[in-house]
């Protein structure tokens, strides 16, 4: 069963942006879309383990800050070379006191 943990406050992230979060030594990236929905993925790129939260979010795409690999952060799907493995995504929910993600 998954466990819900608090990742951040809702206003810690701007719209169309990303924030790094780690829990039990695992890196996550938390996203807030232009319409203020929250999403979560693994924090490191599947290509070369680069920290995704340093990358640029445009629309629903997060771009790796070093090799420009792109993912749709809602589904984790890779958008072309050099990405050949999808990014794992995690369920999120927003409570009065913040953004939660469900981890293993």
């Amino acid at each position: 069963m998954g466990q819900w943990i608090k990742a951040c406050d809702a206003d810690d992230i701007d719209d169309e942006d990303v924030l790094a979060f780690s829990h039990n030594g695992h890196a996550y990236a938390i996203y807030r879309s232009e319409d203020s929905r929250f999403y979560a993925t693994d924090g490191l790129c599947t290509h070369e383990k680069v920290k995704l939260a340093d990358g640029l979010v445009m629309g629903h795409i997060i771009e790796c800050p070093k090799h420009n690999g792109r993912f749709d952060y809602r589904t984790g799907a890779g958008k072309g070379a050099p990405i050949c493995e999808a990014l794992r995504t995690y369920p999120t929910r927003v409570d009065d006191d913040g953004v939660y993600i469900e981890v293993d």
Binding site: V50, G55, E63, P65, K66, G80, P82
Partner: protein, 413 residues
């Protein structure tokens, strides 16, 4: 009865050629695709060769772009370890050193570039880094205490210096110019990087002209300076630039000028032949249509895919903004655009210690940006700058200089 499908051939199996071959299939081509590569290993990423691949504690294995299984799945015929020796553009054939000949209807040349050899007596005593074979030769020699001479304080030389130092080597970098990274990196940033090297124990010898290299006792290599002094090394590595591999194209009668000349669709002077990556030069629409040749991983990947799409009829214009990165120690440097078009520069000092510099042209357009910082901290600012450059934007310079502003908001205006 249906017509037989055209034969497509890609010559060169680095990042660019491999991506081109995969893209041809991915974009729906159902006919035969052949890829010719002169190395014995499957296509791999070259950027780590001068970085992580030289660090002793890290695993040594090429980072594959594509493997045998993927080639089989994409039904790409890979002529591995085969050298293309001649192209006959009239007969549309490529001759291979093995004696085989491949017929083509349309072709992409992605022969890349090779390390420039050191143009001094004894220059052949210096090793270079361009291929997996080079790394296999060099890495075991970068042992604790080894005296390593690095000639050239450009990206490759400094990356080797950083890796060798972290292995415990005694490293001296020799550069004829008065500072490191003269090509496209602002002086303040070069200073930051030079200081980082010195802190790690690297000796930087700037403004040092080398007369020759000599073989010494116990397989040492001596760097003999123009002023008569001598530096004894266990090995010497040269990083003095790259030369495009254009011989095949020249022999085929294609137009060549600092690389194989291509138009803005990456087509050569022969309409059945495209060229992409380090081996080609093109007029850049964003930078006064000046002819440029780019040596970077991302360009290789993107142009390989673009050449493939255009070969299949896409008619897309090449307009990507030059971009590259370098890793040295915990620092990452990223550079985008064309530094020499800038007539003024704007500095942005990030609160995390990262430095950004933007180059502005006379008409107020942003044409260049460089950044250095720990990890990928400066990446987003440089990426925003790259988008602004591609849009020919004229951003407010006070906004660029103020580290409390959110650069990304410039993309919405």
């Amino acid at each position: 009865m249906s017509e037989p499908l055209d034969q497509l051939v890609v010559v060169g199996a680095g990042e660019c050629g491999a991506r081109a071959a995969l893209a041809l299939r991915a974009h729906g081509w159902r006919g035969p695709i052949a890829l010719v590569g002169d190395e014995e290993v499957y296509p791999y990423e070259r950027p780590p060769l001068s970085k992580s691949m030289l660090v002793e504690s890290l695993p040594i294995e090429p980072k594959a772009v594509v493997d045998a299984v993927q080639f089989a799945a994409a039904d790409i015929s890979f002529a591995r370890g085969e050298v293309a020796s001649a192209i006959d553009t009239a007969a549309r054939t490529v001759s291979l050193n093995s004696g085989r000949s491949l017929a083509y209807d349309r072709m992409i040349i992605a022969t890349g570039a090779r390390a420039r050899s050191l143009p001094i007596p004894g220059g052949e005593l210096a090793m270079s880094i361009r291929s997996w074979a080079d790394v296999a030769l060099l890495r075991p020699q970068l042992r604790v205490g080894a005296r390593v001479g690095v000639i050239g304080a450009g990206f490759i030389g400094l990356e080797v210096a950083a890796a060798a130092t972290s292995n415990g080597c005694d490293v001296t970098v020799v550069e004829s110019a008065s500072r490191i990274l003269t090509r496209g990196v602002p002086a303040a940033m070069a200073t930051t990087i030079a200081e980082r090297h010195e802190k790690a124990g690297v000796t930087l010898l700037l403004s040092h002209a080398i007369d020759r290299l000599e073989l010494g006792d116990d397989a040492t290599v001596h760097i003999a300076f123009a002023d008569g002094r001598m530096l004894v090394c266990d090995l010497v590595v040269a990083g003095v630039g790259a030369v495009p591999n254009t011989e095949l194209a020249e022999q085929a009668g294609l137009r060549v000028h600092n690389g194989i000349e291509v138009n803005d669709r990456l087509q050569t002077s022969d309409p059945a032949v495209w060229a992409a990556g380090d081996c080609c030069s093109f007029s850049h629409p964003l930078f006064d249509n000046r002819r440029v040749r780019l040596e970077s991983w991302r360009n290789a990947l993107e142009q390989g895919e673009l050449a493939a799409r255009n070969l299949l009829g896409a008619d897309e214009r090449q307009s990507a903004v030059p971009w590259f990165w370098s890793d040295q120690y915990d620092l990452c440097l990223q550079v985008t655009g064309m530094s020499d078009l800038a007539t003024s520069s704007i500095v942005r000092n990030r609160p995390d210690g990262g430095q950004i510099e933007f180059g502005i042209a006379a008409d107020g357009r942003i044409v260049f940006a460089a950044g250095v910082g720990v990890g990928t901290s400066i990446a987003m600012d440089i990426r925003v700058a790259e988008v602004l450059i591609s849009r020919r934007a004229q951003p407010d310079v006070a906004f660029l200089a103020d580290p409390s502003t959110r650069l990304k908001t410039l993309l919405k205006s």
